[in-house]
């Protein structure tokens, strides 16, 4: 057990570090977890979530979700709401992979229909979607065109034939954060990223073919409203972000904030990864705008990848994407900061919500949700390990407690270094195929790092979010095919 003695149990799923725990805490820190998960949580979570609580302008609590683990700056699973007038914006509360996120896509095919062509499908996805270290994308752009992608996100994709109106409607914020201004992005960030539109990346990024088995449907009514209507329905889930472009934007502003934070604004922090600037400062606004460019590039990246997935399914099954029912469920961002209106002390207040390795999860009827999800709440896509499966959940009204935020995945428990010592990628690939999961990868080392045993039990994580009232289980999704960088 790594939890400090000061940790207080508030309820079966809420744990609190009081402001007395660390000098400078403005608010208490709260962690959502079951007793089992809190006992397994690494020491870095407690250190980092209490560091977040020291940031100027933080409101209510510094939160960490049940999949929380040791990150840099914020813990992964961290959430912080800042008063935009008195508070700061921090790249360490968003992450280097800005708008790393998840997209879930339906098919009207059953597992029985897909399995005879699974190898062909996965092989072709692997050949057509660039993966791995330093990969360049299949959408060729010059740097000016790329700046338009950064400012317009999925809207650029719509204009250029990579998206439908429906795709945009089913993407968080319509696939474009307004106010993205590419003049706030360095030439280096553009040069690093303009060749990477249409790439998956590596690490925990993947594209997976999954099955919604009838016994894994937790809420049939919600499942039907989210598009899961046939037994053993096949769906496609993928996870990727803003690639080198976003990484460079974050690095550039981390350096800028370190240079001005104390000297110009008199802000002292406890960890350099929490470098920040007042939200309304010149530097804060420039970063917010540049971050939006990276957010939009990531939406566009997932959108063009979806376009390619549709092409591949069409080729393999000889039918159009519409005939194959290749419609999106939703696209959610993990690593962002965004101005949202939330209830504080009985009235609505605009807050800057940092989410790092956590997912927005609006409850039913919240403004900003597509009309088709007004009754279900926002679809939440929880990516598990490639061996153990993932979840489709939906937002709840009670999620208001955590500014409508929930978990994003299962959360690592074993270091990548240790996982590579314990598992061999080639053996893992053969074992998984015997268990009915066909995996293609550029990297056996990378595959070993992503072994299921390196992660928390996803069933326990999603159950904890449901018990805490953050999101509700709709369906568990079982992998049958996967491509990895």
């Amino acid at each position: 057990m790594n939890a400090p003695a000061a940790l207080r149990k508030i309820s079966d799923t809420v744990w609190e570090l009081p402001v007395s725990y660390k000098e400078g805490m403005q608010v208490p820190a709260r962690i959502f977890a079951t007793e089992k998960l809190i006992k397994e949580m690494d020491a870095g979570v407690f250190e980092q979530v209490s560091n977040v609580a020291t940031l100027p302008g933080i409101q209510r609590y510094a939160y960490c979700m049940p999949d929380g683990h040791w990150g840099y700056g914020f813990p992964i699973g961290g959430v912080a709401a800042m008063d935009p007038d008195s508070g700061v914006i921090s790249p360490g509360g968003i992450g280097f992979d800005i708008n790393c996120g998840m997209r879930l896509v339906l098919t009207n095919l059953s597992a029985e229909e897909v399995k005879p062509r699974l190898h062909q499908l996965v092989d072709r996805l692997f050949a057509r979607i660039p993966t791995g270290v330093g990969c360049h994308g299949f959408v060729k752009l010059n740097q000016d065109e790329f700046r338009q992608v950064a400012e317009r996100g999925s809207r650029w994709c719509l204009k250029h034939g990579f998206a439908s109106e429906e795709d945009l409607e089913l993407t968080e914020e319509g696939g474009c954060f307004p106010g993205a201004d590419a003049s706030n992005v360095s030439a280096k960030a553009v040069e690093r990223g303009f060749n990477q539109l249409g790439t998956l990346g590596s690490g925990n990024h993947y594209c997976e073919i999954q099955v919604a088995q009838p016994e894994n449907i937790f809420d049939a009514e919600r499942a039907a409203l989210l598009g899961l209507t046939i037994p053993n329905q096949v769906v496609i889930m993928f996870h990727c972000g803003s690639r080198g472009f976003g990484h460079q934007v974050a690095t550039d502003y981390l350096k800028l904030f370190l240079a001005v934070m104390e000297r110009k604004y008199g802000i002292k922090i406890v960890d350099r990864e929490l470098a920040c600037a007042p939200f309304h400062s010149t530097e804060g606004q420039a970063y917010y705008s540049a971050m939006k460019c990276a957010v939009n590039m990531a939406f566009a990246n997932r959108q063009v990848i979806l376009h390619r997935i549709r092409e591949v399914f069409s080729e393999v099954f000889g039918s159009s994407p519409d005939d194959l029912g290749l419609h999106m469920v939703y696209d959610v961002a993990h690593n962002t900061a965004k101005l949202e209106r939330h209830k504080m002390n009985g009235s609505q207040k605009e807050l800057l919500i940092h989410r790092k390795g956590s997912t927005r999860a609006f409850g039913p009827g919240e403004p900003g949700l597509p009309e088709c999800y007004s009754k279900t709440g926002q679809p939440v896509i929880i990516g598990g390990s490639m061996e153990t499966g993932s979840y489709l959940m939906s937002g709840l009204a009670s999620g208001a407690e955590a500014f409508y935020t929930t978990a994003h995945g299962s959360g690592r428990t074993m270091s990548r270094h240790q996982a590579k010592k314990e598992f061999r990628g080639d053996k893992l690939q053969r074992d998984m195929e015997q268990r009915g999961i066909y995996v293609r990868t550029d990297s056996f080392g990378g595959l070993a790092e992503e072994a299921g045993a390196a992660y928390k039990n996803i069933d326990e994580v999603v159950e904890a979010t449901e018990l805490a009232g953050l999101s509700k289980r709709v369906a568990r999704l079982i992998p049958i095919g996967n491509i990895k960088g």
Binding site: D42, G44, H69, W70, G71, Y72, G73, I76, G92, G95, F96, D97, G132, V133, G134, C135, H136, K188, E191, R192, G193, N195, Q196, G201, S202, G203, N204, R243, G244, H247, Q248, A250, T251, L254, K255, L258, D271, R272, E273, A275, R412, T413, M414, S415, R416, H417, Q418, D442, S443, F444, G445, G446, E449, G485
Partner: protein, 145 residues
Amino acid sequence: MTFRYRGDIAHADIAFDASGQSLEELFIKAAEATQQVMVEDLTAVRPLETVEISLVQDNEEMLLFDFLNELLFLKDARRLILLPARLEIARQEGGAGYALRATLQGEEIDAARHRLNTDVKAVTMLRFSVTRAADGWRATVVLDV
């Protein structure tokens, strides 16, 4: 002097300690540690491409931060895995800060020839340090992957 990966910091990322008898050697070892996260066998990387870089920074720490970031930039922008063939660090005139000049050599990433591992996204500031020790220089680096 060498580098070693650590499993006890930030489980989702990759941490390493590097050391060198000189600041130059430390930077070369840190470059190797960073590139080996992405390419398992660095001896398979042939010196087919040459890139010259020059960096100026106020202190050793931010100089290493910028240097490793330059390698990541070239990995994404030009798909090059590069290692220092020559590297010099000099105090700037008046003693304010450092100037680094390096000749980097390597080749374009080739999944068929290089045993690829995991992409490095960024150099983080988590526990990032460059310190002088009795026998030379040491650094701790956590890479976001």
